[in-house]
């Protein structure tokens, strides 16, 4: 079974703090993704990575950065957290077949509250 784990289930931070969200997958997947889920907005892609040290912007990258130093780990960084970044953050990974059969497997999510 594919396992995608996220470092925290719940996180509370203050405005202006630097926040790190960590994601680890144990299936040697090439692709990793960060989404945020907000009520009434569905899932929106922030960034994804198709290889170590490689990244691509998604639909809403503003205010975020990412780091992928090792294949199994993908970090989402909020340089200076703001209240509008309060959300559920979901990490996902996929094999990286490069075609549409490539299923994404999601972690349980981190609910981040920025006060």
């Amino acid at each position: 079974d594919v396992k995608v784990t996220q470092s925290s289930r719940y996180l509370v931070k203050r405005t202006g703090e630097k926040v790190f969200l960590e994601c680890v997958q144990d299936m040697d997947h090439e692709n990793m993704f960060w989404y945020r889920q907000d009520p009434g907005l569905g899932l929106r892609l922030i960034y994804f990575s198709y290889d170590v040290k490689m990244k691509e912007k998604g639909d809403i990258p503003e205010g975020y950065s990412v780091s992928r130093e090792k294949k199994e780990r993908f970090s989402l960084i909020l340089e200076s957290a703001s209240t509008n970044q309060t959300s559920m953050y979901l990490c996902a990974s996929s094999i990286g077949t490069g075609d549409y059969t490539d299923t994404q497997y999601f972690g349980p999510g981190t609910r981040l509250t920025v006060l």
């Binding site: 995608v4 692709n31 569905g42 899932l43 490069g98 549409y100 490539d102 299923t103 994404q104 999601f106």
Partner: protein, 113 residues
Amino acid sequence: DQQVKQNSPSLSVQEGRISILNCDYTNSMFDYFLWYKKYPAEGPTFLISISSIKDKNEDGRFTVFLNKSAKHLSLHIVPSQPGDSAVYFCAADPNQAGTALIFGKGTTLSVSS
């Protein structure tokens, strides 16, 4: 501008009946669609998909229908069970590369016993 639309935020169905969840898309170039299911406090899990070369794909109680001319797809669950109560997301894979999926807002299905 939403490219994948799920216009019904919620749906309530009785156990044993059919659940029909709808999804519309705006870009006729989209060729591959997926449905994900999400329980509270868990990440979404892949449910079923369909390629535009088909108009129907079936997996047990779950069937997805695609109407390309109407740019519409639907997920049918028969018979519905209380354990099917979850949020269902429709998604399109515009690049057919399994990467930049475009998700709808989701429909919350409640199945009562």
